[in-house]
Symmetry: D4
Subunit: 210 residues, 8 copies
């Protein structure tokens, strides 16, 4: 509870048995929890034992309950194409569960700059933007140049060859010529969402410390 | 002016002549500017030609004027030791020039955890924390675990051998077991400060978009 | 027998047939052996043919007999979470079989520093500490700062993206700001335990050479 | 003469003496040559001995004579800022000497997308575009998305930290989400220009082979 | 349609359902499309629903319709051996569908230089050459030295150990001692073909911009 | 004093002024200190201001006072040749200052295995061995195979090309086929000595914790 | 036939059908061939169609006929343990088929230097030595130091973590402190054997060129 | 004397004083020695003290006396251009001092294949070929394909950007599609020559072991 949010469970290396126990305890204590990186099989097991869960296969997230709404502005989640959707959805589901209003812009790539710029208002209206991009990660720089608000960049492992399983967009984003951008681990939609939400929470609290 | 702040000048690959012209123009238009990565020699040249500048050799920054104060909370800049001070000062001077209240905690390392924890209040009282660390970068994870507010981590090239000129703390910070942390380029005190300030600005604006 | 301990068998690239023969010979000559990285299938085959073995699936180790107890102090094995347990168990089983007293501290991470510090006595009471950590490996630095005794750090491949299959915590541990730490190969719980035990053996022998 | 262009000299690892001899021979046989990566000192030596040369310090190129004009369309050379100018000029001087018409667009970065798009006609009017970019190299992807003609991308070592001396923009450009782009070595303005000119030459020849 | 060619579909991360919809739309609007990286299973699904497709298993490409012929010269696709054929075929099928005349030279390696040179006329008669090579990628340099026309080099992941999944031939090609070569991503036969075709298109258009 | 040894000062990034102050304080409080990575110039400055220091240029160490002797056994410091001597001396001086008895074996390389084996008794008589090796680092494996006691391996940046500034021997040592070896950072003679001394201290204390 | 040996077939990326045809042709023309990296399934197919083959599963080689004996001295193939045997056998079978006399030394590692040195005569009696080693590859340096004759080192991908799939022993071998060693690709037992045999052939020919 | 050749001295990290002593001793005992990587300054010092030396500045080698001639065939040293000459000369001087007959082919590159092939007889007449190449290292593969005799490849750090200080040609040579090639460290002309000479020595000895 250090952050004001109940613990979030990283499902990957846990068994169904372990997950059931943890989720049971968190839900009975807090009425809510979020499990990330949980397969359909394990989610089915957990939901059979702890009712009230909502599973999303594409993002591999299982959600119980929700947190207090953060009622100012919105977090925009932008990505270029179908391959980044699992990461984008992980980010979106995490933000929503944590209380953020979320808008998404899922079909924009820098190779079609006009299609991206057609959404200028949506982009510039956001309080925080999460940009999710694989390949060369250039979307982050372009979006970063458009907004005055903080951008959190999430590189993805989408691509092949010199994408180097996401290292290339990661390094590119860290070198962005747009100021006001910071970066999280490859494919870490959860991490990008968490940071974006802490920013929104601070803003809703008017900048006062915890 | 896209971000509400006048342009910041990257001094490294510019000559005294080029810098003089740019600074002159920015100061005459906005009464303020910040030049980063500017050597003492070049700064002296610029200040001879454009009066009113304030140069700091350790951080290699030259400052003219200041931006409106962001009057809520403070940004904490934490680092472990003497070697990281140039980066820490670059961050501090950038934050201040941009209007933030800044506090610093410059002599804490994870090898002496009690000395760090003695400053728990200062740390937890911050609205945003910038953690600057070379070596293995572990300070970011420990500080990140202590606060509910966003942490911006700046890896530095301080260290030798397997520090790999800062790549090791960079990668470590991106893998932090503390949530709520995002990362900027190696030695990029400016970048960490810029992101922290955008967050403070959003908070002062109550979360409303630009 | 160069080290005073009977040969330990690396099971990974050996067939059941090869393992049976080696184990048979070692057990008949020394009444004891340790096989690491042995799958359940192969262990079942070996135990069917050489009775008296004790298999542990999580650590993939098969144990016969035991060595003389090293009756001073204890080795502490510390790790942060569920994902590092296979490596931690490999270390614990190796230390025990070699004669060490072992204590474990398996649920501490630097993101929750107070939970870790609650075990200060256990940590500082150890003669040697083995720290096992994936992600960014920061636990090693914090524990290293708490103790005056040697720390052996074992990086693990737990994590994703920039964890780089354990290279990141390895490099981080080699750059630790805590002195008195040395490092073994990624996921090498056995190697960490072996080094820790040699240290305990030397201590029990009062520092005299072999 | 295999390519229809007289030999071009790589000046870096050659002495003034060696360069004088080579240039003398090429100029007396062909009335023209191009020397790249030649310092001011060496260029002065060569020009003292072989009159008629034209030296440019920023691009470190020395030019004698010129090739037949390629009278269709133009090659556009685009880069973001002052730091990339030496590479851009190397490209421009090479293209011109080889006979191309050249236009340049030297002050556009993706962080200010509107300033870039203000030059849409210039960009889309080019027959071939050479994009020169350091940092994260995103300019190549955006320009590539705007034009139907071939883009040659030249990554530069401009940047620090995770720029990795140009490897990051190189890898990013190879992963570009824009089709119709190919890449040359880091800081290789000459190589980009050479490839662009071969393309222009083929076009002027109407697509017929040599 | 930005490039004058209808959209090409990247099949890898799309489901049969998604592919059917996209192909249906493209074929009904343009009477043609190209899908790359599409498995036999998915291609069968798509062809069952949209008749008129032509699938090639080795290159994993599915083709509908064709573009206007580019009636000057030919693109030569050269590779050394059987292992590079999937990439070579992807390139050949892309070039043909886009309208190029294509010739292939599929059994030449630099280890048998005379066998390669026996095809000198075929090689030097090409307007553009696509060289596809794994292992050490030396074929590109040798072919590049033989022709006056642009060479597009496609490194492949064929090889083991220090081939580093194609990084070695990629880096080698970028360092080629032959001028007039540019490089695309590892195994990117499509990308090489696309760039070659843009060059042919420009040539057929006589060098005029779009 | 956490480790029972007064603080050791890392001299590299500190000025003469800073070093004078620190050394003055440490010497007046503890009558002893060790400064590593200190140039001759800075050492001269410090010694002029704080008398009683002993400087060694090859190892770049400055020593004041000494710690209580650890009177059991000895630490052996082994290296292959002249190039590793600065690192070996840093280790030797650190061990001695910390109280260890030290023996050295400075002219043995695995390419002359018999010369190495001629010192078998010296090697096997050590309580702890520090092996310092550049190039391919094989000395560590051979020595590790000869002794039953802990080996601390220190890779050095001696070598060129594929030595990769010490990364190659580092990685090799971490993969050693000899058990009972752990590794510290490249060129970190200090770190190897510190760990060896902690081991000796534990042994002298009979294995009892702090 | 350029080298005096009939073509050797690399089986990995070829189908049973392709292999049958190639082997048929080579055997009918030369009465002999060698296929490397061929699975049991494919070998069975080929042998059913072309009688007279001899398949070895561990080395994945299929042999037909043999070359003229090279009747001087012998090639020694040395490796440390069971895991390197597939590569060692590939080397041994290749050498034998090419006509060399082969001796093997398969159970020696540098961690047990005396066991290795017990074979000094066998080692020093060889005309050429092929050393095959994974882990840290130190065996090559020790053997290289013992012999006056050429050593060909073959690194293997045996190991885990920092072995980096064979890159670590490769780099270590290239940095060997023993002169007279050259290196081939990771796991390339064939390549090591081929080079060793060319050396034997030259020697048998008394040093005269082809 | 293990190899039948007196010790060769690596001059780089030794002082003039150290070199004088070593050379004095070797020359007085054996009448000959070779010092590599020795600067002009140090060589002048040594020659002043030990007369009879022959220094070559380009290859940084100092030679005293000579070894018995190896009177069969010749070693060919081939490289592409002026930049590789220091390494080529180091190889040539080493081979000659060790007794080999040496021929050189210093102006051939794969970009001009016909110029290379004009020397086919010289190339195919060699008993051993040392190929020295920077950039992409393709010369080794082409030469390797032309000869039946062993090729030793020496990659050089000549090039920039993705040459990665010689790693790229090193990796490329290890992946060569020509069999019968082995590789030594980057810029290691000495090492290539040493291996070539051991091969010649074996051949002159008719393949008999030492
Ligand atoms: N997808 C994710 N990627 C990275 N960290 C995560 C992810 N999901 C949860 N976490 C973090 O992992 C912690 C829980 O880890 P665990 O105790 O292993 O379940 C939470 O506090 C989160 O901060
Ligand atoms: N120290 C720094 N590190 C990275 N980026 C910087 C730094 N200082 C300034 N910048 C950025 O560089 C831009 C100005 O670049 P330039 O036009 O080359 O002066 C500014 O908009 C800042 O975003
Ligand atoms: N050569 C060295 N390499 C690595 N760490 C060192 C070295 N010398 C001293 N240290 C460590 O650096 C710490 C002091 O750092 P500082 O406070 O910056 O002087 C000491 O506690 C030592 O543990
Ligand atoms: N295991 C192997 N590793 C590397 N190269 C090989 C191997 N086996 C055969 N070769 C080489 O591959 C060539 C044949 O390749 P291919 O024509 O694809 O069968 C032969 O000339 C050999 O030089
Ligand atoms: Mg912005
Ligand atoms: Mg936190
Ligand atoms: Mg400690
Ligand atoms: Mg385009
Ligand atoms: Mg060409
Ligand atoms: Mg041992
Ligand atoms: Mg030898
Ligand atoms: Mg050959």
């Amino acid at each position: 509870e250090r952050t004001g949010f109940p613990e979030i469970v990283y499902g990957l290396s846990k068994t169904s048995e372990q997950l059931k126990k943890i989720v049971e305890k968190l839900v009975s204590n807090h009425n809510k929890t979020l499990v990330t990186r949980i397969s359909k099989e394990k989610a089915t097991d957990v939901m059979a034992s702890v009712p009230g869960g909502d599973y999303c296969a594409r993002s591999q997230t299982l959600v119980y309950g929700e947190n207090e709404p953060l009622d100012e502005g919105y977090v925009l989640i932008a990505c270029a194409g179908t391959s980044d959707l699992p990461v984008a959805d992980e980010a979106a589901r995490t933000c929503k569960w944590m209380g953020c209003r979320v808008k998404t812009l899922y079909d924009v790539g820098v190779a079609g700059i006009d299609r991206l710029l057609a959404h200028r208002e949506l982009i510039q209206g956001a309080s925080v933007v999460i940009v999710i991009a694989g390949m060369e990660g250039a979307l982050a720089s372009v979006v970063g140049g458009l907004v005055k608000r903080p951008v959190i960049a999430v590189p993805t492992s989408v691509g092949y060859g010199t994408n180097l399983e996401g290292l290339t967009p990661l390094l590119a984003m860290l070198n962005s010529c747009s100021s006001g951008m910071s970066v999280v681990n490859i494919d870490n939609g959860f991490g990008g969402a968490y940071q974006a939400t802490l920013i929104m929470k601070l803003a809703v609290d008017g900048g006062h410390p915890n």
